[in-house]
């Protein structure tokens, strides 16, 4: 715990709230989330469906605007930024890996990887490009288009793209959700290595305990709140936690049902 508090914060939120709808139909997707995400760590955000984990990630990644509260990424408060500055921030300091449809179908793997840089009009650092491409093991696939690659290869291209601009923080939204076990393992292995070898900060949303077991830290969300966290957990610890959370949720639902 002590080492973590000493580590620099890559992003943090303060009392983050996000509500949809109004009146009786109001849904609180985030209900006062305050948390720090530390630099050089691989963090997982877990929680049952509807716990708000995706909304949290979208707010952190400047894709969504919270109803209240503050998000600071790399020392910049997002609320103060207009669309253009947010776009620039996403381009330069944030990397993304989505669950599916990560790549532009008209571009080759290499062009996809370099896209954030070309959009910014920047030249890639050839050594860094070489290193990233070798690490993800795509050397011989650079000229291929997405339609000529397997799902696992496509996700690895997406990972490489997320890293190419040396972002402060990479957000991965269920990056292995659509992959078979072996391909998923490769992708997770690569994310792990980029934290260990390149000191990259990665935040991953997942509901897969196995995927979360690759992480340094797992944050559990339920009903829009942070309910727990674990450091360097193994798969069984995470599963146990998830089961507890699920039971607690069912109990609450049962009470609510009894009250009404």
């Amino acid at each position: 715990m002590t080492t973590q508090t000493m580590a620099a914060s890559a992003a943090h939120t303060t009392d983050l709230r996000k509500t949809y709808g109004s009146g009786a139909a109001q849904v609180k997707a985030l209900d006062g989330v305050s948390l720090d995400l530390y630099a050089g760590q691989f963090t997982a955000i877990m929680g049952p469906s509807g716990s708000g984990k995706s909304t949290l990630m979208h707010c952190l990644a400047a894709l969504d605007t919270p109803t209240a509260g503050e998000v600071v990424v790399d020392g910049v408060a997002l609320a103060t930024l207009k669309d253009k500055a947010l776009t620039k921030l996403r381009r330069e300091r944030i990397g993304f890996v989505f669950q599916a449809f990560n790549l532009v179908p008209t571009l080759t793997a290499e062009e996809n990887i370099l896209l954030p840089l070309t959009l910014a009009g920047r030249k890639p650092d050839p050594d860094w490009f070489e290193l990233v491409v070798t690490t993800v093991g795509l050397g011989d696939r650079l000229g291929h288009r997405p339609s000529e690659m397997s799902g696992g290869q496509q996700q690895r291209v997406a990972c490489a793209r997320a890293l190419i601009s040396k972002p402060t923080i990479v957000f991965a939204d269920e990056p292995t959700g659509n992959l078979d076990t072996i391909s998923g393992g490769e992708v997770l292995g690569f994310l792990r290595r980029s934290v260990d070898e390149f000191d990259q900060t990665i935040v991953m949303v997942t509901h897969d305990a196995h995927a979360a077991s690759y992480c340094d830290r797992v944050i559990f969300l339920a009903d829009g709140r942070v309910v727990d966290e674990l450091d360097s957990p193994d798969r069984d610890q995470i599963l146990a936690h998830m089961t507890d959370l699920q039971e607690a949720a069912l109990r609450r639902a049962g009470q609510a049902g009894a009250l009404s």
């Binding site: 969504d64 776009t87 620039k88």
Partner: protein, 847 residues
């Protein structure tokens, strides 16, 4: 299935609205033209019926409703004939008419009233009733003229001339004294309404005789009114018995038929001209429908597959798409027909401003117009949806289960090969035409051009690759990643891009083809003026109508003027075939270089020159006797005294000018050619001539430079009119681009979301979509301009007898390309704004 189809229509109303707009515009143009030309026809019918008496006595061979450009007979009838006619029991009244052509009304400011379009009719006012027994003319203001020196005008002419009753009015007379100052004593209009823009100048009988008959007490024709119960035929037959030689009595029906034929031919040209553009617009609209339905079917293939999986047959699926097209066609045609009706009224108002009035009450949607418009609008829509509908039926049920729903596009190779084959056939046709196949070579080349146009439209997806690749390279160099992506997107679905570009290509092919022809024509005119027009100055009217011979007489007196040659053109029958023949005076061959194939250029008496072309076509030889029959019926036999090398300044048949007097035709000039006197200063003489001509606004004096300018101005006027009409086809093509881009944006929502998430700014996104649009537009422009210039050049070769020089308007073509780029930018505005507005998060989440 029907209910499902209707639901689909409602659900995608915005997407369909754009393509429906293409049909709406095409049908609106079509029905507008039909309504307008029907209205024009009805207006003229009304005038003709309202102004024709029961019977007419006239010189033989004079046709009704001639504007007098082909020569006017001077034969007259004495008042005694009218008295004889009136004495007949079948005749209730016989009124002598005195009328003529070539009268001009000047406005208060000295300009011409009426101008070049509709004719100026000058006649004596008589209260003869028309065949329905009604008055033909109705007095609006003042009184009828009762003595020479007084006139009445139609109300519109008086307004346009800025004249009030009581004002002095200046007329230019065709014969005798050139300028006549008369007093306006009243205004009168056709009782049936609608003048179609004609200017009416009404005299009393003596006044008209003074102008047209040099004061002789005679008539040019006699209007007959039958006694009670006498039919038109009985009236005409009875009248024929007392007529002098050279005159005939015709029934109202004959007069009406002749007039309607003459007007019909003229109106037919106008409506055919306009209909061509309507058809082009509809064809271009068809391309857009094909494309829209193809995209919609592709986007819905999962839904269609689901229907198939649930048990719908191929035919049911195809038919549901066709039914969608049918409903769209009906709705769009209905809107189009109404819009067309409004368009016709607009067109009528526009022409009304230029003096050609069409009564609004005549612009009605009759059953025929409605039927044709529906047939065309619905037909084109359903036909265009046919291929996409068949493709829809072929969607495999299993596609419903697949994640990526894009139907595998079939190979373009087959299309390319067939297309290349058809292009070669076109090349064969063009070559055959140019190398002397039977028939006019322009027809062969035209057929080849049409074949090429249709083929290129179909295989533009293949032909366009290099153009698109060039755009991609250029864009990625200038605009970086967004440019690169724009280029890629344009090449992504070659069929879609090709079909969208084709719609624009059709319009630009025609525009550049016409541009090449017009520019060639202008160059050929310059050639002609340089090589063949050897006079220093030319006098002619803007509409090439004849003008008073007195003008030439007066110009001859201007200081510094040397030899002056007159020519008059007359429509006569040459051995039974109606031909324009020229009368040349003796000086003509001194001023103009006439190259002779055989015989001598100087002719006199009953001699004629013919061009080598006519000699060949009609098989005339030197020394042959040829029978000429003139308006008024006089026949004169002439001997072919020389064969000239044809050129565009010379007539096919020429006779001595004084032969026309012998033929009983009124002397007028169609052109006066003036040479400088020895040592005279050209500038000073030109200024003096122009100064002298100021009072005669219907003619112009030109030196050779200004003559070319003047003709070029007329060519360009026509050119711009055609460009204006083709603009509609281009507007429809732009709608096509907007539509395709809009649908593509919807299709690529996820991808756009992704791009935005990883750092594409809104303006980069807009640039990307604009780039794609520009690529499509440039493709259409490059294909269109290429094909247009090629076809135009070949057509010029085919027409090289008349179009002696090829002109490629490089500046204009560059402008068209620039316009295409602008069009691309404008077309992208809406889809780009839409894409930029997409919420990143929602876009990523889109299925």
């Amino acid at each position: 299935m029907i209910r499902l189809t209707l639901r689909n229509l409602v659900a995608r109303k915005v997407r369909l609205l754009m393509s429906a707009l293409a049909v709406v515009l095409g049908v609106a143009f079509l029905s507008g033209v039909l309504v307008f030309s029907n209205g024009l026809q009805a207006t003229f019918d009304q005038i003709i019926k309202g102004t024709t008496p029961s019977g007419l006595v006239r010189a033989e061979g004079s046709a009704s409703f001639s504007a007098g450009e082909g020569g006017v007979s001077t034969a007259t009838l004495s008042p005694q004939v009218a008295a004889d006619l009136e004495a007949l029991p079948e005749v209730a009244r016989a009124d002598g008419n005195v009328d003529g052509f070539g009268m001009h009304l000047l406005a208060k400011d000295g300009s011409l009233v009426g101008g070049g379009g509709p004719p100026t009719l000058a006649f004596n006012y008589v209260d003869t009733p028309n065949l329905a027994g009604e008055q033909i003319l109705e007095l609006s203001e003042g009184r009828w003229p009762t003595e020479p020196g007084e006139i009445a005008l139609d109300g519109r002419a008086a307004d346009n001339g800025d004249y009030q009753v009581g004002d002095q009015v200046r007329l230019i007379a065709p014969y005798g004294e050139l300028e006549r100052d008369v007093t306006l004593v009243g205004t009168a209009d056709f009782a049936a309404g609608g003048m179609a823009g004609a200017v009416l100048i009404m005299f009393d009988t003596a006044g008209a005789q003074e102008i047209f008959l040099d004061g002789a007490d005679a008539y040019t024709s006699i209007s007959l009114t039958g006694a009670d119960g006498v039919s038109q035929t009985e009236l005409a037959e009875a009248a024929a018995a007392v007529l002098p030689d050279g005159f005939e009595a015709v029934t109202a029906d004959v007069v009406i038929e002749e007039s309607e034929d003459a007007i019909g031919a003229f109106l037919g040209v106008i409506s055919t001209f306009l209909l061509v553009f309507a058809v082009i617009a509809v064809v271009v609209g068809g391309f857009i429908i094909v494309n829209t339905f193809a995209i919609l079917v592709a986007q819905r293939s999962r839904e269609l597959a689901l229907l198939r999986a649930l048990g719908a047959s191929r035919r049911q699926v195809s038919r549901s798409v066709l039914f969608e097209a049918l409903v769209m066609g009906v709705v769009a045609s209905s809107v189009g027909i109404l819009a067309g009706w409004a368009l016709a009224r607009g067109l009528a108002a526009l022409l009304g401003a230029f003096g050609l009035e069409v009564a609004g009450s005549r612009l009605t949607l009759d059953a025929g117009v409605v039927a044709v418009s529906y047939a065309v609008g619905v037909g084109v829509t359903v036909l265009a949806a046919w291929i996409p509908a068949r493709r829809a039926g072929r969607v495999a049920p299993v596609a419903a289960m697949r994640a990526d729903s894009v139907a595998a596009p079939g190979s373009l190779r087959r299309r390319a090969w067939i297309g290349a084959g058809v292009l070669l056939i076109g090349a064969g046709l063009a070559a055959a035409g140019l190398l002397g196949a039977p028939g006019p070579s322009a027809l062969w080349v035209g057929a080849a051009a049409l074949l090429w146009l249709l083929t290129v439209a179909v295989i533009s997806s293949v032909l366009g690759r290099p153009v698109l690749a060039a755009c991609r390279a250029l864009f990625s160099r200038t605009f970086g990643a967004p440019g690169r992506l724009a280029g890629e997107n344009a090449m992504r679905d070659p069929r879609r891009t090709g079909a969208t570009a084709s719609a624009l290509m059709i319009g630009l092919t025609l525009v550049s083809l016409i541009g090449v022809l017009a520019s060639s024509l202008n160059r050929s005119i310059d050639d002609l003026i340089d090589a063949d027009v050897t006079s220093d100055f030319i006098v002619q009217s803007a509409t090439y109508m004849p003008f008073p011979a007195a003008i030439g007489d007066r110009l001859e007196e201007v200081d510094g003027v040397g030899p002056v040659s007159r020519e008059q053109w007359v429509q006569a029958s040459v051995d039974g075939e109606s031909t324009f023949i020229a009368g040349y005076d003796a000086l003509f061959t001194e001023i103009y270089r006439v190259e002779m194939v055989s015989g001598e250029p100087a002719i006199s008496g009953h001699q004629a020159l013919i061009s080598d072309k006519t000699a060949e076509d009609r098989d005339f030889q030197l020394g042959d006797q040829v029978a000429l029959t003139f308006p008024g019926g006089t026949q004169i036999d002439v001997t072919v005294a020389g064969v000239m090398e044809a050129n565009n300044t010379l007539a096919d048949v020429a006779v001595p000018l004084d032969l026309f007097a012998e033929a009983g035709l009124a002397r007028q000039d169609n052109a006066v050619s003036i040479l400088l006197a020895d040592g005279a200063d050209p500038e000073a003489v030109y200024d003096a001539l122009k100064e002298a001509a100021l009072g005669w606004p219907m003619i112009g004096v030109f030196d050779m430079g200004d003559l070319g300018e003047q003709i070029r101005g007329q060519v360009n006027q026509l050119l711009f009119l055609i460009y204006g009409l083709l603009a509609l086809a281009i507007v429809i093509a732009v709608i096509g681009i907007v539509n395709t881009l809009g649908l593509s944006v919807i299709e690529r929502t996820r991808e756009i979301g992704l791009l935005r998430a990883i750092g594409m700014t809104r303006s980069q996104l807009r640039r990307m979509i604009t780039g794609e649009s520009v690529a499509v537009a440039v493709l259409g422009a490059v294909l269109g301009l290429g094909l247009g210039v090629l076809s135009g050049t070949l057509l010029q070769q085919a027409l090289s007898d008349d179009l002696t020089s090829l002109g490629v308007p490089v500046g204009q073509l560059a402008l068209f390309l620039a316009v295409a780029v602008v069009v691309g930018v404008l077309a992208a505005a809406l889809p780009a704004a839409r894409a930029a507005r997409l919420d990143v998060l929602e876009a990523i989440a889109t299925e």
